[in-house]
Symmetry: C2
Subunit: 355 residues, 2 copies
DNA sequence: TTGAAAGCGCTAACAA
DNA sequence: TTGTTAGCGCTTTCAA
């Protein structure tokens, strides 16, 4: 049924060994036999059985990616692009990508173990790091190669790519402060996520420098979904002294916050400023378009995958730890400018909308 | 380094065969040896080498999923949820998921071939079908098991799950007609996609029944992204006699269309009706919330995966061909109702906004 | 330049 | 109830 190396051997009258070496272009095989072997292989439609090759080589040429899902409805515009970055890079190196989805927790860790011990992957890509990340602890201790999108608290002795969340959020907060905002609230990510720390810190640093009060009541925590952003924005807007600007920790929550504000009849970009983080395609086409921080997510996927692959091939990656400087993308949701059909018009802006 | 069955054999003084059978709970092994073997296996931290098992069994216990990407920026809120549905189901059956991303075309087909011939997968899940789908032709001809999300033109002799796009779009169009709309335009998907056919047909059937003219100029084609929806909506709105309602073929394009309309100062849900398809979480939190057709994407992923797995295990799936009846989700973007903080209020609606 | 033989880790037919 | 043996498809010493 399927053609094996043995069939080619029989067909050409050569030995299995010779066929194998001919196919791999060893230089101790005569050109004539090489030619013969290759031609018959092609004729017979031979393709190597990767399983057998891998068993022999003790390498799987597969990298694992276990996506942490939160809740059943896992519609993240973020991960699909990341996945494409990782996948395309892996394919370029001839590697396969083994993907699964698991909510953070025991089962998740078990999935890592299982893939390692079943020798199904050569290494892992880890995403969405937690402050103390059991996945990284495990991989480190087990000696399994891995590369990470994100950082953790404590020892950063592993290869990673991350965006500089502190810097990104500083830019956002400084921008809002420059626009005259004084009552700036934020919707933070779940605190166990490492990037929550950075993004929050960026906001706080900017506020402190501007000598603005940091009110704990102004800092809500959302679950990174639109719904979460919506709920938390409502909490903030219900405060006796509501904020004039809301910094959401990601685009999805910003969108939710926008819809909460709009439902109250507020005009986003005039009555209230709202900003996001990630610059997903959603941000550009939101209404109004969302001011946010750009994160080259496809590239990040690509680079983190490349790091891992270099390591797996025994090479030293160009850079082992990459911290990307993010770019602030100013659109209309913060009221800084308002572009209609390409023209930029400024919008009447109140200094302190609610006072 | 890693523990194999041989190590256990040596340790227990049993033969390799006995160990293997003990671990698999064969009933021709004495309880005492079973116990002994299992305990030592556990002690030594044994986990089977799946590669070896699979080579022997000639089954990979892996299913392939090659995502067709369109353009570099592939942020699809749709696929991640689908992926979760497929992935979780596969995991439940003990199957792995091999994922890659390829733009439709030669390389894509080559990827299928390579995975089949390298015996890396037992079967495939195919998504986003084209009218004449070379992937399905190939898999059919190669005798590789597969299950499909979507249908194709011609012979439907394979297992699939699909939503009834005709019905879904009929519901949308009929709803708009009932609301008094007479100038209904649509932004269709790329025509090579099979679901374009169904969704378009649904619209046309409803319009024909209502004895409304179907103007070719009223049917734009978008690339399923927000940007595409934005561009095409602008084309439609620039017409001398612009539509009073725009039916977009998916949520993303609907969102883009909304932002185009809003940029012109139109109030969506009052001056113009806009509808989507998919009911991604984006729809619910759009501003205004988007009237759309619900598609249980997680479930679809789960069911299509289950079908394939049943087939791979030699069983007959419960249902081989599933056509889901979609549900119309009426929100505010079509002007039918307008819900504020849970209360439903009707909005003044113009019969023919532009006349 | 080529081939025989061992072995990657496992399963399964067969014999004992 | 257990062990011997062969073999999945391949790579790689080692000898010829």
């Amino acid at each position: 049924m399927t053609v094996t190396i043995k069939d080619i051997a029989r067909e050409t009258g050569k030995s299995i060994t010779t066929v194998s070496r001919a196919l791999h272009d060893y230089d101790d095989v005569s050109d004539s036999t090489k030619k013969l072997v290759r031609e018959t292989a092609a004729e017979m439609g031979y393709t190597p059985n990767l399983l057998a090759q891998r068993l022999q080589k003790q390498r799987t040429e597969t990298i694992g990616l276990i996506l942490p899902t939160f809740g059943p409805r896992f519609a993240d515009p973020f991960f699909s692009e990341f996945l494409a970055g990782v996948g395309n890079t892996a394919a370029r190196y001839g590697y396969d990508l083994l993907v699964s989805t698991k909510a953070p927790g025991k089962e998740e860790l078990a999935a890592y173990r299982q893939k390692v011990q079943g020798r199904q992957v050569d290494g892992f890509i880890v995403v969405r790091t937690r402050r103390h990340d059991p996945r990284i602890d495990y991989l480190r201790q087990a000696g399994v190669p891995f590369a990470v999108f994100g950082r953790v608290e404590g020892e950063l002795d592993f290869p990673f790519v991350d965006e500089d969340g502190v810097d990104g959020m500083r830019q956002v907060a400084e921008h809002l402060i420059a626009l005259g905002h004084r009552r700036i609230a934020c919707i933070a990510p779940p605190p166990e996520l490492m990037f929550a720390e950075y993004r929050l810190r960026g906001v706080k640093e900017a506020l402190t420098e501007a000598e603005l009060m940091i009110d704990e009541g102004y800092c809500a925590t959302g679950d990174l979904t639109q719904h979460g952003g919506y709920k938390q924005a409502n909490v903030l807007l219900d405060l006796p002294d509501p904020p004039s600007a809301i910094i959401a920790a990601n685009d999805l929550m910003a969108l939710g916050a926008m819809s909460a504000a709009q439902q109250r009849g507020l005009v986003v970009g005039r009555d209230i400023a709202i900003t996001g983080f990630d610059d997903t395609p959603l941000a550009e086409h939101a209404h109004p378009p969302l001011t946010t921080v750009h994160q080259p997510i496809y590239q990040i996927g690509s680079v983190v995958c490349e790091m891992l692959l270099e390591i797996l091939q025994g090479r030293e990656p160009d850079q082992r730890q990459v911290l990307l400087k993010p770019t602030l993308i100013v659109r209309q949701s913060c009221g800084a400018n308002h572009s209609v059909n390409g023209a930029t018009v400024s919008i009447p802006k109140k200094e302190a909308p609610y006072t």
